[in-house]
C-alpha cells in the first residue's frame, strides 16, 4: 500500500512538472486580431498624423479614425499613449530563436544579411499571412556572394563561392532558386589597408550586381572601409550594409551616393563594440529595470578580438560619416548586425537608433530609419507604416518617442499580425 502511494505521488509530481513547464503564448478569444485601438497619438513611420483610432481587421489595418468609431469591434483602450509601426531591423543574422527574441523587443520584421536558406524558407510562408505568431517576420539574403575562403565562409555554412566574374549570373540564379529575397555581396577593395579575408575582384563585384539587377533583385554590398565603399557605389550597389570608419566620407562619394540613391545601414552598434565599447553600459546595463535575458546579455558582453587595435578618432569618423550622409539626404537605415559581439537581437536595434541620434539624426528621422525607411528600401509594401492595408505590427509607447527614443526600450504593448503578444 505504502509503495503504491509513493509511486502515485512520484507520477503526480512528474506529470505536474511537465504541465507546469512554460509554453509559448497562444491566441485566445480576448486576444483575436480584430479590434479598435485608441485613443492614441500616431507616428505613422514618417510623421505624426491626425488620426487617433486604428481599426484592425484580421491583422490588417483597415481604417484610421479621428474619433472613436461606432463599431461592434472589441475596443482596446490606448489611454492617449503613442503608437508607432513595429520596428524593422535592417541587418541581422537570424537562427534559433532570434525571431522570437526580436519580437519581444518590438522588432516585428528583420532583414537577414546572411544565413541558412532553410531557415529563411521556413519564415517565408509565414510572413505573408497574419496568423498568430510570436516570431518576427524575416526577409533575407540567404547565402551571400563571396570569394573562395572569403568573409562568410568561416561560419560553418556551406557557401558556394565566386571564383570569376563569369560565374556571377549562375551564382545569383542559384541564390534566387534557394529563396534569397535580395543579393548580398561581400567585397573588399584591393589595398584596403587592413588585414582581411580574400575578396571577389572589382570585376566580380560589378558582374554580381549586374546579375542581381538583371533578375530584378536588390544588390547590397558588405564593405568595411572607404575604398571598398567607393567601388561598391560606383559598381551600382543599391545599398551598403555597413558603414566604414578608416576615414570620414568624402564629398566625391557623397555625391555619388546621392546620384545613385544608395542607402546605407551603418551598423554603428557593432562598430561601437570594436572602437569604443561603452554604449551597452550606458543604455542597457546601467538601467536596472530592464529585463535583459541571459542569452542577450551573453552576446552583448562579448567583444571582438584585439579591440584596442584602432585609433580613437575612428569612432568620430564613423559618426561624422553617418551625419554627413544623413544631412546630404542619403537614406540611413537602422540595423544592428545582431547577434555579433556587442549586440543582441531586439535590444541592439534600439541601441543603434540611439547611436544614430547621437550621430546627429533627429528622433523623427531615426524612427523612420527603423520603420518606413527599410520598408521602402527593401520594397516591403505591407509593413513599416501605419496606413490602411498594412499589417497591424504595432508598438505602444508610454512616452513620445520623438521626445525620448529611450521609451523604445520599454514598450507598453506589442502587436504582431494584430495579436497582442506583450
Amino acid at each position: 500500500m505504502k509503495t503504491k502511494l509513493i509511486i502515485l505521488a512520484v507520477i503526480t509530481l512528474i506529470v505536474a512538472t511537465l504541465l507546469l513547464l512554460p509554453t509559448p503564448q497562444q491566441p485566445n478569444a480576448s486576444n483575436d486580431n480584430s479590434f479598435v485601438l485608441g485613443p492614441v497619438r500616431i507616428f505613422d513611420g514618417e510623421r505624426v498624423i491626425e488620426a487617433n483610432y486604428i481599426e484592425i481587421n484580421e491583422g490588417i489595418i483597415v481604417a484610421l479614425h479621428s474619433n472613436k468609431p461606432d463599431l461592434s469591434l472589441r475596443w482596446v483602450d490606448g489611454a492617449n499613449q503613442w503608437v508607432i509601426p513595429g520596428l524593422i531591423d535592417s541587418h541581422v543574422h537570424a537562427w534559433g530563436d532570434a525571431l522570437e527574441q526580436s519580437v519581444e523587443r518590438g522588432v516585428t520584421t528583420v532583414i537577414d544579411m546572411f544565413g541558412d536558406p532553410n531557415f529563411l524558407a521556413q519564415s517565408q510562408a509565414q510572413r505573408a499571412t497574419t496568423e498568430f505568431t510570436t516570431a518576427a517576420d524575416m526577409y533575407g539574403a540567404g547565402l551571400l556572394m563571396t570569394a573562395p575562403d572569403g568573409h562568410g565562409t568561416q561560419y560553418g555554412i556551406d557557401v558556394s563561392t565566386l571564383d570569376s566574374p563569369e560565374q556571377a549570373a549562375q551564382l545569383v540564379q542559384q541564390r534566387i532558386d534557394a529563396g534569397s529575397d535580395f543579393i548580398k555581396i561581400v567585397y573588399t577593395a584591393e589595398g584596403a589597408g587592413y588585414q582581411h579575408a580574400p575578396s571577389i575582384s572589382k570585376a566580380g563585384l560589378e558582374a554580381a550586381i549586374a546579375a542581381a539587377h538583371q533578375q530584378k533583385r536588390l544588390a547590397v554590398v558588405h564593405i568595411a572601409d572607404y575604398n571598398s565603399a567607393v567601388d561598391a557605389v560606383a559598381a551600382g550597389a543599391d545599398g551598403l550594409v555597413h558603414s566604414f570608419f578608416n576615414q570620414p566620407i568624402t564629398d566625391e562619394l557623397l555625391t555619388m551616393m546621392q546620384a545613385n540613391d544608395v542607402f546605407v545601414i551603418p551598423t554603428t552598434v557593432v562598430y561601437e563594440g570594436m572602437l569604443r565599447g561603452e554604449i551597452n553600459d550606458e543604455v542597457l546595463f546601467n538601467e536596472s529595470q530592464l529585463d535583459i535575458s541571459r542569452a542577450a546579455q551573453s552576446t552583448l558582453n562579448q567583444s571582438f578580438p584585439d579591440t584596442n587595435r584602432f585609433p580613437e578618432h575612428y569612432y568620430e569618423n564613423l559618426m561624422e560619416t553617418t551625419q554627413r550622409m544623413h544631412d546630404a539626404g542619403v537614406r540611413v537605415l537602422a540595423g544592428s548586425d545582431a547577434p555579433n559581439p556587442n549586440t543582441a537581437h531586439g535590444w541592439s536595434l534600439v541601441v543603434e537608433m540611439l547611436l544614430l541620434q547621437q550621430a546627429g539624426m533627429s528622433a523623427e528621422a531615426v524612427l523612420t530609419a527603423a520603420t518606413a525607411g527599410p520598408a521602402d528600401a527593401f520594397k516591403l509594401t505591407d509593413r513599416g507604416r501605419i496606413q490602411v492595408g498594412n499589417k497591424a505590427d504595432l508598438l505602444v509607447l508610454t512616452e513620445s518617442p520623438l521626445d525620448s527614443l529611450e521609451s523604445l526600450l520599454t514598450p507598453a504593448m506589442i502587436w504582431k499580425n494584430g495579436y497582442r503578444i506583450r
Binding site: T23, S293, R294, A295, S298
Partner: protein, 246 residues
C-alpha cells in the same frame, strides 16, 4: 506467468533501492549533466540565440550518461564480485536482471530530464508547447536503449576498474562528435561524417526534430539506424554472454 512478472518487478524495485542507498553514485550522476548544462549551455553559451536548441542537445547528452554508466559499471562490478554468478545460478531469469537495470537507468534519466527542463525554463527562458515537452521526454527516454546496450556490452567485457574510465572514453567523445556540446553546424565537415556513424547523432536528431532544429534528414533514417544498431548490439551481447558462460 504472474510469478515471472512479480520477479521482474521485485528485481527492478530492489535495483532501484540499492541505487537509492548509494547516494555517492546517484547524486553526482544526476547533477553532472545539470552542472554541465548550466556551464556550457547557459552561462558560457557562445552560440547565441538558441535556448531550446542547447537544452535539447544537453538533455540528449545528460540522458546518455546513466544508460552507459548504470550498465557498464554495475555489470562489471557485479561480475567482479561474483554477484552475476550468484544471480545466474538463482532461479531468476537473467532477463529480469537486465530489465531491472534498464528500469533504474530510466528513472535516473527521467530525473535528469526534468531537472534539465526546469533549469532551462528558469534560467534560459526556454518555452515549448506541451506536446513538445511530452514528445521530447518520451524520445529522450526510449532513445537511451542503444546506449544502455553499449554499456551492457562494456560491463560484460571490462573489469570493474576499467569500466568507468572506458565509459568516459566513449561517452564524452561520442557526445562531442555528435554536436551535443557545440552545435553540429559549427563543426568541421569531417566531424559531420563521423557523426553520421554514431547512434548519439541519430538520437539527438530525433530529439531536435521535435523543436524543428534537426539537420533535416528523414526521421525514418534515424529510427532505422537506431533499431538496426540495437539489433546488432543484442547480437554482440548474446555472443559475448555465451562466451562468458563457457
Amino acid at each position: 506467468m504472474r510469478n515471472a512478472t512479480a520477479i521482474y518487478l521485485k528485481e527492478s524495485h530492489y535495483d532501484l533501492v540499492s541505487l537509492w542507498r548509494t547516494p555517492g553514485f546517484f547524486l553526482p550522476a544526476i547533477l553532472f549533466p545539470v552542472v554541465f548544462y548550466i556551464f556550457f549551455g547557459i552561462v558560457f553559451n557562445f552560440s547565441a540565440a538558441q535556448g531550446e536548441y542547447m537544452l535539447v542537445s544537453y538533455a540528449c547528452f545528460g540522458m546518455m550518461g546513466p544508460a552507459f554508466f548504470n550498465y557498464a559499471t554495475a555489470v562489471a562490478s557485479d561480475r567482479a564480485h561474483g554477484w552475476l554468478t550468484l544471480k545466474r545460478v538463482s532461479p531468476m531469469p537473467l532477463g529480469a536482471y537486465v530489465a531491472s537495470k534498464f528500469y533504474s537507468s530510466q528513472v535516473f534519466a527521467l530525473c535528469i530530464a526534468l531537472l534539465l527542463f526546469v533549469t532551462g525554463a528558469l534560467f534560459a527562458d526556454v518555452e515549448m508547447h506541451l506536446w513538445q515537452w511530452g514528445t521530447l521526454s518520451v524520445i529522450l527516454l526510449l532513445g537511451t536503449l542503444p546506449f544502455a546496450l553499449i554499456g551492457l556490452l562494456m560491463g560484460l567485457c571490462l573489469s570493474d576498474k576499467a569500466a568507468p574510465a572506458m565509459v568516459n572514453l566513449i561517452y564524452l567523445p561520442m557526445a562531442f562528435l555528435s554536436g551535443l556540446w557545440v552545435p553540429i553546424q559549427f563543426l568541421p565537415d569531417t566531424v559531420r561524417y563521423i557523426a553520421f556513424a554514431l547512434p548519439s547523432y541519430h538520437y539527438s536528431q530525433l530529439a531536435h526534430a521535435v523543436i524543428g532544429t534537426s539537420q533535416g534528414q528523414s526521421l525514418w533514417l534515424h529510427i532505422a539506424y537506431l533499431v538496426l544498431f540495437c539489433v546488432a548490439m543484442f547480437g554482440v551481447i548474446y555472443w559475448r554472454y555465451q562466451k562468458l558462460s563457457r
